[in-house]
Every structure is written in structure tokens, then in C-alpha cells.
Symmetry: C2
Subunit: 209 residues, 2 copies
């Protein structure tokens, strides 16, 4: 009576699928945090957690979404650079596989968000700083604000500029940090983060030499 397995293969397979589903749901909820749609996040979760190369139909069926939705989500994930195309020979369909290194995924996301959010913000902030300087010849001379007192006004402008500058400095720092993290040498920062974060010596990144 030794060696009677406590789990049948069927039960184990079901448990695995449940765990996958749960992971997909949880990861889907993080969508907001990454600035993407829930479905897109779920597609990514599915590809990540199965680790395999799935085709559009696999994804449609497993997540119960339309073809259009699957197509658009996959395209977006490709744009973000965290999913790549794959092909099976003798098969006409396209397959998709997720990046499997969590740190690489994170780097891709940082890269994209800096590009989409920080860079434009910086550009705008520079413009805004200039606005309060070159205020000559505003065609509308009409009465506008509360304080026409020149002294107060000058102080207000000075403070305004200072605040815009403080923001600028902050986001410049953020951008530079992001670029360092993302750059080829960026894996250094990953190490730094790991070390900074604790005395935990363990290395789970996998066996690459």
C-alpha cells in the first residue's frame, strides 16, 4: 500500500488550471497600475504563466474574448515589447510567447512609460516655465486676476517659476534614473536593487551563467 498517489493526474491538472486562472485574474487587476486594459493584462498573464507559445484561437477560447480584442491586445503587447511572435513550422497561424524574465519585463515597461509619459511631461514643463517669462504683448489687456499690485505679482511669478523648476528637476532625475535602469548596463541597477532591498542572498533569476 505504499506509494498510492494522493492526487490523481486529473485532479492535479485541474488544480494547475485553477492556479493559472487565479493568476490571470490577479494580474488582470494590476492592469490599472501598468496603464493598460484589463484584457491586455490578462492575455499577458496567460502567456506568462503557461510559458508556452499560444495562437490567437487558444487565447480567445481560454479568456473568452473576441477575435478583435485578442488581436488588438496582442498587438499592444508586442508594442510594449513584452510579448514576441513565434511560429510553428507546418502551421500557418502565428503564435505568441511572453518574455519570461520578470526583470526584463519590468525594464520594458519602464522604458515605455518614460517614453510615453515622462518625456512629454518634461517637454511641457519647459514650455510652461518659459510662458511666465515672455509675457510681452498679450493682446487681451482686459482685467483678469485678483492682484494688480506689481510687488505681489512679481513675487507670485517668482514662486511659480520656482515650483515649475522643482518639478522639472524631479522629473529630470526620474528620467535619468529610468534610462540608467533600462540601458544595457541597467542590469547593474537590478543587482543594486536586489542588494538594497534586503540581506536576502538568494538568486532566483535562473541558471544563466
Amino acid at each position: 500500500m505504499a506509494r498510492v498517489p494522493k492526487t490523481t493526474p486529473a485532479a492535479q491538472a485541474a488544480a494547475l488550471r485553477d492556479a493559472q486562472d487565479r493568476f490571470i485574474a490577479v494580474w488582470g487587476q494590476m492592469a490599472g497600475a501598468w496603464g493598460i486594459s484589463r484584457t491586455m493584462s490578462e492575455v499577458h498573464a496567460l502567456l506568462y504563466i503557461t510559458g508556452g507559445a499560444l495562437c490567437t484561437d487558444d487565447i480567445m477560447e481560454r479568456l473568452d474574448i473576441s477575435r478583435g480584442n485578442a488581436s488588438m491586445s496582442l498587438r499592444a503587447l508586442l508594442d510594449w515589447g513584452i510579448v514576441e511572435r513565434a511560429h510553428k513550422r507546418g502551421d500557418r497561424k502565428e503564435y505568441f510567447r511572453s518574455e519570461q524574465d520578470v526583470w526584463a519585463m519590468f525594464r520594458a515597461i519602464v522604458r515605455e512609460r518614460v517614453k510615453r509619459e515622462v518625456d512629454p511631461l518634461l517637454a511641457s514643463l519647459y514650455e510652461i516655465r518659459d510662458m511666465s517669462v515672455a509675457s510681452v504683448e498679450n493682446p487681451e489687456g482686459a482685467a483678469t486676476v485678483v492682484a494688480p499690485d506689481p510687488e505681489e505679482l512679481a513675487a507670485a511669478v517668482a514662486n511659480h517659476t520656482q515650483r515649475v523648476d522643482a518639478m522639472l528637476d524631479f522629473f529630470r532625475t526620474l528620467e535619468t534614473l529610468g534610462q540608467r535602469f533600462v540601458s544595457p548596463a541597467g542590469r547593474g541597477l537590478q543587482l543594486a536593487a536586489t542588494l538594497l532591498s534586503a540581506g536576502s542572498t538568494r538568486d532566483r533569476t535562473g541558471g544563466a551563467p
Copy 2:
């Protein structure tokens, strides 16, 4: 003819207001990035860029929003800890003032997002990891997945667990980093970030000794 000012006070005041409006619009667009609503972000932008203590009516008028919306946005900003109440004596109204230190703002946001997003995610990931282990007595013995082959199955479960663990490790690191950054000693990290980010020696944080 020396000293003829090139800008009238009126024009200057208008320019200031334009710059403020532009700042508010730009900051409003970042709302998505911080995980808050556009209006909430605009209210914060207004309070930050004017630097003053404004009451609900000031905000309603300037941003052209309803009283309810203003109230809810302010409450949320208070919860995030980046806006504080202020009072003017002899006045019954409540006034609000924004945190002015950009780094402190950022710390507050990190603190809140770790609490709201990373911590729950970690909890779920721990649960998910356990799911694939304790797969005994699943009442539904029905046919489920593709591979009933015990060998493949075992490998799939192992890989699954490994991927969940990789995620866990990553977010544990993230959480710890966040806590370090946020902690009282966290200003150290601010300095580190500034130093890491460039050879830029300038210190714009203001004149604190």
C-alpha cells in the same frame, strides 16, 4: 527712456494665469500615471502651482467643477496625504493647501500605491503558489486539460511554481525598496537617486540647511 517696463501688470498677471492653467492641464493628463482621476489630479495641480490655501468655492470656480466633485477629490487627496487642511481665523470655511516638496509628494504616492497594489498582489501570489501544491480531493474529477500524461504534468506544475516564485521575488524586492524609500530614513534614497541620476551637482530643493 530707460526703464520703460515691457510688460504691463495686467499682461503679466494674465500670463501667469495662462501658465498655471497649462500646468493644471498637463498635470491632469498625468492622472492615469498616478492611478487617480483627472479632476483629482487637476485639483492637486491647482493647489500645488498656486501654493496658496484655497477653499472649495475657489476650486469649483477655477476648475469649473461641481461642489460634490470638488469635495470628493479633496477628500481623496487628503487620504493620499498630499494635501492638508488649513483654516483662516474668522472664516468658517475650510481651506486646503498642497504639500510643496515634490519628493515628499512622491514618497506619499509610493507609500499609498505599495499599500493598495503591491501588498494585495503579494498576498494573492502566496495563495496561488500554494494552490498547485495542495491539489488533493478536487471534487470535479471530470476531464479538464490537454496533457493527462503524468510526466508532462509534473513538469508543467514545476514550471508554474517557478514562475510564480519569480514574480513573488520581484514584488518582494519592489515592496522592500518602496518601504526603504518611504521610511523616515528614506530621504537617504532621495539623495542616492539624485547622485545616481547624474553628475548634476545642483540642489534645487530650496534653502533648507
